[in-house]
């Protein structure tokens, strides 16, 4: 009995061994193929995710407006189309009007730099600044070669930046299209996604999604309103400087827009916002001997931006930014450094992305605790 058993069991166990061996082998090959595929597709997936994340952020910004239109009886699809018609109109106007102006401005500055007289003028002005600072700080010496090489590098890269801008415009339009779909069908998509959550975590997931969406909307709306405030104030301030002090800043609207947008980056943003104004004013005044000997107009610009910051920090931001992100300055600097690896957009998104992640983590933790899951 036992002999027959061992005879019959042996081939079966060998067969089972081979079966499981081949099964494991197939799984292993499939896993390697999957990993190789994922590795190959990784950049594409990252790109797609990046677009989706930006579209989701824009959806959170525009959603209240579409909701408002829906509440007044306009169907969601028509409301979205109406809003995007407006946005595309503004973008088209900006492209048609703004890009030639910007190209002219860059070309003009390039011409100024290429002229020897302008270089001399720049050098004399730098020398003047040098001597005046040296009056207060003995032995102070500006490295003129370094400044001229840095400015040459900056302007040589402007061309490639502009070429990249067209590519960015195409990506931006693509993001707007995704945003449009999110705005029209986002609720259904969210509902279907949450529908996949097991019953045990369903209520919690729904609450977390809702609260996170609310926090995110409040945060982004606040940031955008603060940026708009800074933009408008900068526009008024720069116009006053041009009018009263004859600071000679061209492209005030563009510079104010940049200042407003840069303001969304805490700590570093306000300084980034004043740089274009100073550069434009500096180059516009290069040929002027009076301006060359009186560089106080730069201090006027800095003073104006400091006043704008004071108004923003003490009046506008406390009112409009309800969900403020309390972050340590070091965290912000580290985030901006990490974001700068992706580019300017990365620098813009690093701080809000961290703020959003903080909100999500807080809500998930509170939800899990509330439902006694941790």
């Amino acid at each position: 009995m036992s002999n027959t058993d061992s005879v019959s069991i042996a081939p079966q166990s060998v067969r089972l061994f081979f079966q499981s061996f081949f099964k494991t082998l197939v799984y292993f090959i499939l896993l390697i193929l999957l990993l190789a595929g994922a590795y190959k597709a990784f950049p594409l997936v990252v790109d797609a995710l990046f677009l989706i994340v930006i579209a989701a952020i824009l959806t959170a910004v525009f959603n209240p407006l579409v909701d408002r239109m829906e509440s007044s009886g306009i169907r969601r699809l028509y409301g979205t189309l109406l809003m995007f018609g407006g946005i595309f109109g503004i973008v088209a106007l900006g492209v048609v009007k703004g890009i030639p102006t910007l190209l002219n401005e860059v070309g003009r500055i390039k011409d100024i730099i290429q002229e020897n007289s302008a270089t001399e003028s720049l050098n004399s002005m730098m020398g003047d600044i040098n001597s005046r600072i040296a009056e207060y700080i003995p032995g102070f010496q500006l490295d003129l070669d370094l400044i001229s090489s840095l400015s040459a590098k900056f302007f040589s890269q402007l061309g490639s930046v502009l070429a990249g801008a067209l590519d960015t415009l195409a990506t931006f339009i693509f993001i707007l299209i995704i945003t449009m779909f999110f705005l029209v069908d986002g609720k259904r998509m969210t509902k279907q996604l949450i529908g996949m959550v097991p019953n045990r975590y369903f209520e919690m997931s729904l609450n977390i999604t809702y609260k996170t969406k609310q926090q995110l909307t409040n945060f982004l709306r606040g940031q955008l309103l603060a940026a708009l405030g800074v933009g408008i104030q900068s526009f008024i301030g720069l116009s006053i400087l041009n009018w009263i002090f004859d600071t000679n800043i061209s492209g005030v609207l563009l510079i104010s827009t940049i200042a407003g947008m840069a303001n969304m980056i805490p700590f570093v943003g306000p300084f980034m916002g004043m740089v274009p104004a100073i550069i434009v004013s500096l180059f516009n005044n290069l040929g002027d001997p009076i301006a060359a000997s009186h560089f106080y107009y730069i201090l006027h610009i800095i003073g104006m931006f400091l006043i704008v910051q004071m108004i923003d920090n003490n009046i506008i931001s406390p009112i409009v930014v309800s969900g403020s992100m309390e972050m340590h300055p070091l965290t912000v600097i580290l985030l901006i450094l990490v974001g700068s690896q992706i580019g300017v957009l990365g620098m813009f998104l690093a701080v809000p992305a961290w703020g959003i992640s903080k909100v999500v983590i807080q809500e998930v933790y509170q939800g899990l605790k509330g439902h006694h899951l941790i």
């Binding site: 829906e70 509440s71 609720k187 509902k191 019953n199 729904l206 609450n207 809702y210």
Partner: protein, 184 residues
């Protein structure tokens, strides 16, 4: 007195049947709940798009006692038991709810912890209508949201009145007991 004569027209009846809009099970269940009973079919359809239809296996909890309340449930099909957890004892079944019954509507207004647990007794299909769904309706369809809130307030008012009545009865009984105790 004039006698009413009923004449049936089979062709007309079948035509009327075909024209009659088809109502989903969820719509029918929603229309029977007092919170939605005064809504038009068009409005019920909007609510249907906002709610979540979930399936529960026997023994699966819908929510547990102490969980933060976030919405109401309407049973389309199946059976749900409401249980009270008593420390160091088996849960006490307070009630058994079936098709068309609803529970937890106060949680739409208040996130305080659930006072009892709800567990599916058999395979159940349940509609979940949660606070975020109500808030969304209030934001996008304020008139409809207002109607739902008014109905919810009415439910609360009825319960408050009944609780007041019970309280009066209990206090009278207590007064009676105190008086008889004093006489003795």
């Amino acid at each position: 007195m004039k006698e009413k004569v009923n004449i049936s027209y089979p062709l007309f009846e079948s035509f009327k049947d075909k024209l009659r809009p088809k109502r989903s099970q969820a719509q029918m269940a929603l229309s029977q709940v007092n919170v939605f009973s005064r809504l038009s079919w068009q409005e019920i359809k909007i609510v249907e798009n906002a709610v979540h239809i979930r399936n529960y296996a026997p023994g699966e909890p819908v929510f547990k006692q102490g969980d933060p309340g976030s919405g109401m449930y309407i049973i389309i099909e199946g059976c749900v038991g409401i249980f009270l957890d008593i420390p160091q004892q088996a849960p006490k079944q307070l009630s058994k709810l079936g098709d068309g019954d609803f529970f937890g509507e106060i949680a739409l207004l208040d996130a305080s912890p659930r006072t009892a647990a709800a567990t599916a007794i058999e395979n159940s299909t349940i509609i979940g209508f949660y606070r975020p769904d109500l808030m969304d309706i209030l934001k996008t369809k304020p008139a409809l949201g207002g109607k739902i809130l008014l109905a919810l307030s009415e439910v609360l008012a009825v319960r408050l009145r009944s609780t007041n009545g019970e309280l009066v009865k209990v206090s009278r009984k207590l007064e009676g007991l105190l008086e008889s105790g004093a006489n003795e």
